[in-house]
Amino acid sequence: MKAFYFTEAAYPYLPPETEYESVRVTMPNRIFDPKVGADLYHRFMDEWLLADDEGLNVMVNEHHQTPTCLNASGPITLAVLARETRNARLLILGNPISNRDQPLRVAEEMAMIDCFSRGRLECGFVKGVPYEIAAANRVPVRLNDRLWEAHDLIVKAWTQHDGPFSFEGKFFHHRMVNVWPRPYQQPHPPVWIATLSAQSAEEAGRRGYVVATFLAGYKDTPKIWQGYQRGWEAGGRTGPCPLDRLAYTAMIYTGETDAEGRAGAEKLLWYLAQNKVPEYFKNPPGYLAPQARGAIMRTQPLGYRMRMQNKVPNLDEEIANGAVFCGSPDTVYKQIKTFYDKVGGMGNLLLMGQAGLMEHEETVRGIKLFAREVYPRLKELGVQGQHLDLSVAA
């Protein structure tokens, strides 16, 4: 199993929730103190570099117009990591290619990162969460179509080496594509697709990409893995997919003791709690199919999204859900192993190891304890050749 350390890199010093309408999209940036922000950028970078030193891989993501994530450009953070890290695989999860204007710009940025890092890029593509729509001003209809057309153009740009080609799609038009540099890894960096939907997982499986899911828990993860497996087979492959195709994101904090681990995890719950967002940003028209949106209009939130709806998160509930693994190293290992067995396995574990008001020292302790006491045991799991356990009921 490969582990990737991750933080959303938030600016957590916010007014009380009663004083604002929405934490995302409309929070005025006068709240951002540039001196504090600068310190945060450097501190989060120090923690990523520590993760590399400790033998973990690293992951960044990207969000816009929100204090919940200061990485408004994932590629910029990734560029610093490409230069400063030594061994870590560098995962961006992901480039929001449904929203970005120019897929070719993404192709160039990723090729540069891959060269700078000498072939350590893991390139994720995402549709983006619904609150990104207002920030990108991207019409929320037909986003999946736009994502896959952008993907097709990017992959073609990476893999055509004989001079310019043209591309006249539904969303993107070019007459002269000839991207420099080309990626370090051949034919191109590994592609990851992040999703909560079995259908998107199937698309990833068809292409043999890595599918990553996020806090999906015991309940939804098997469905996503099964979706992936369907696509894997539809792509002309037989047998269960290798575990290295499957990635699970959880909030993970490792303490010396169970109490210390839980105390850290309580701080990670900030990510779930700090999500006061009005319905019109959470549910823009067309982002979900009419059937699903109709259900939400009746205020029946779907599955995982319930945890994102202004509900005060409960640590034991989230542990039981499989969204949080925390405690002493032994406890964390056991929780991960239990989850692993229950869902059929996974070959990649993405750890949200810092959030909200968790300070530097506490973050560092958690990274080191995980890397030194938990990760070596996890490496036994999901190694090359191990496959999805299809006997696990969806």
């Binding site: 207002a134 001003n137 019409v139 929320p140 209809v141 037909r142 009005p278 319905e279 019109y280 940003f281 823009p284 028209p285 067309g286 009419p290 059937q291 949106r293 109709g294 259900a295 209009m297 009746r298």
Partner: protein, 272 residues
Amino acid sequence: MENAGLVSGGLARLRVGSVDLDYVRIGSGPSLLYLDDAFGTAPSAETLAILGEKFSVIAPHHPGFGTSPLPNWITSTDDYAYLYLALLDALGEESVFIAGVSLGSWIALQMAIKCPERFTGFILASPIGVKTGSRDALDIPDIYAMTYEALSALLYHDPATVPDRAECDEEELVALARNEESFALLSWEPYMHDPKLPHRLNRVRQPVVLVRGASDGLLTDSYVQSLSRLLPNSSVKTLDSAGHRIQVDQPVAFGAMIADFACNLETPVASA
């Protein structure tokens, strides 16, 4: 609910190009093309019945709204204009009067600039589709950044008439979600307008009456006046006790206004 109960017996379907177009045909008299707004799941039976007293009404159901899926090639109001021109061709309607509300008015303008000679006159209620103000401020408030309650207050004159979503059944909610998705596609960017229209409206020499509900929270009077100045032969009327959804708030008064205007044109529409 004002959208309950389609006019029975009047609903027809015609293959127009690659689209199966549903439309209501009702009433007798001069031909009137009625183009409804985006906020209901079908043209209201009450409005159509009132119009049917004086006109032979053709009221298409906009593809992608209500129960019909959105064809994947449709991206703009212009596409609807061509569809409905083809509908008129197929029905042998050479010369019609148009009444529109909101999205319907926008589509009507897109039709008018293409072949103005097909139309005897226009009543365009709650007319969207044109931007006349500066780049630093929205002419029309952002309907995609407000709650259903806030939007309803801008759309309807009387809060008591606002449909309660909690009372809608699943099918209705799916239809409303479909409406929102299709309207988003048509109006997202540029927001709620076609930048080319101000340069093309000079072709529309037929008489146009722009109607604004006095309680319309989306369109200011000065916005509608500025649109009127772009049309060579237009005037503005205000309808009291009506919001943006004029046809829902004041179906009788709106119907009477249409009849009065259409039947008193300089070149009056010929009686049946």
